[in-house]
Symmetry: C2
Subunit: 297 residues, 2 copies
């Protein structure tokens, strides 16, 4: 069962319910967390046959605001769609959770209820960005806006572990995002991370620039969550502006389904706040695949 | 006269000479700084009529490597094409300088020879990024990889001053680049800069995200040079990958001509290291327009 935070996202609950229903029609078992009566009424109106699909509705009447302070919101709103959906993973009821809600709250709830993997300092949001040579795993895409160099080093390990598990590529090429290839390029944190990674056991190829990502010159690229978020949103904005080329735009949209929160003991998929129904549906299918060891695409 | 650093750039001297010759044919007076004999031979072979254009060749036999440590390179190589071209602005021989060379060295030389404007802590690279509503001035695009919040605040003033001078828009909308609109979003520096700008006299509209830039929701957007460089290069990489749509790509290429080094007492245009001849030509025409008070486009 995949838990869905029905009240999370700029366009919730509408697009979340639509995406969830679409995934359920593709045989992904869905648990909708949110105001129960509202959800059932919506489903009744939309598709009277919904009770024949693998859909469960769990009443969680509260909602966490997109702009709420994450930690206090999670502690206060224990009956919110977000917290209840995350908690269902820790209790074993669900194999994964998908939310387009307050990403800070999602991370806080995941850390609190599901727990960090042993040794992990900070969970990070990891997503596959498109390249001409397949996909590149980039992290952190927004969980940690202020990082130290050893955090970036650990993100590299988390990304490599995940990719190795997923693709059987045992020596993924690791790069650190910078403003130039030379080891002396970067801000202070990036320069330090470069030094740490050079002494590390990973297959570190050095600094990479944005065009190296899109050219597929690395398999795992690390950056702090502020920079990663700017990278991701710039990529999407440009692809969207170049609206005449639908194929290219779809390609750039590929990360939109959902990004994975790495470093927690469960499958947590983070969707964009402005995710549409298709993105939610994709994230739910991804969540199902990831939690069943299928290839993450 | 516009001074050109012939030996600056990944594809120098070839593309710099081509771009310079093209601009000279458009009646922009050009001073080529670099190895004199080589330049004259190249011009003789390419266009025997070059001596009838407003072209001057100044012998500056040394070259500063793209990867050289900026400050020591500028101090040591006083007879380099970059240093001599910059110095020609301080001596009044040239009205502007254009270089695709080592941008750190260009900034160091500009600070040393041309000098900072009064009160400016750090010159910053400013460029116009395309939006659906005209262009947006973004700075810093790469001069300062590590900034404090008051640097960002000053970048806002430098950008506003420039834009006001240029467009007669006396209340440009100022935003600070962040990972969310809420004042609490951003890394530590961005959050502090938000507070400083809120108390300032500028027309501050708050945090902006990358898509706000491309939607033209601000006129001036500030960020540190590391983030700005990632933003710029991501934009260009995506636009380049979407190669089938030439019009869109040209639009995204618009900043490529050259970005302006704001905060120094002279016109300094910074081109990409990988600038092609067309970009150099555009930068030279821009330099001419900027130094003659025409609209910067």
């Amino acid at each position: 069962m995949i838990a869905v935070d029905v009240m999370g996202g700029d366009r919730a609950p509408q697009v979340v319910l639509e995406g969830g229903l679409a995934a359920a029609r593709k045989s992904v078992p869905i648990a909708f967390y949110g105001p129960g009566t509202m959800i059932e009424q919506w489903l009744d109106a939309k598709d009277p046959a919904w009770r024949t699909y693998a859909i469960t509705v769990v009443d969680a009447p509260e909602a966490i605001d997109m702009a709420a302070e994450p930690v206090s919101a999670v502690r206060k709103k224990t009956n919110s769609s977000l917290v209840r959906a995350v908690a269902s993973v820790s209790s074993g009821k669900s194999v994964a959770v998908v939310s387009a809600g307050n990403s800070g709250a999602l991370m806080a709830a995941s850390t609190l209820f599901i727990g960090k993997q042993e040794g992990v300092l900070r969970p990070a949001i990891a997503g596959f960005l498109p390249s001409s040579q397949g996909k590149v795993l980039v992290l952190d895409l927004g969980a940690n806006t202020d990082c130290r160099s050893h955090h970036l080093q650990q993100f590299a390990h988390m990304g490599v572990n995940y990719l190795t598990h997923l693709t059987k590529n045992i020596r993924p090429r690791v790069g650190v995002l910078s403003n130039g290839h030379e080891p002396g390029k970067g801000n202070v944190i990036v320069k330090e991370a470069h030094q740490l990674l050079q002494k590390d056991t990973l297959n570190f190829i050095g600094n990479v620039e944005p065009y190296d990502i899109f050219a597929g010159r690395a398999d795992v690229v690390v950056c702090d969550g502020f920079v990663g978020n700017v990278l991701l949103k710039t990529m999407e904005s440009v692809a969207e502006q170049v609206h005449t080329d639908t194929a290219a735009r779809d390609e750039m949209d590929s990360v939109r389904g959902g990004a994975l929160l790495l470093g927690v003991k469960g499958v947590v998929l983070v969707c964009h706040g402005n995710a549409d129904a298709r993105a939610i549906e994709q994230a739910l299918v991804q969540a199902w695949n990831v939690s069943h060891g299928n290839n993450y695409k």
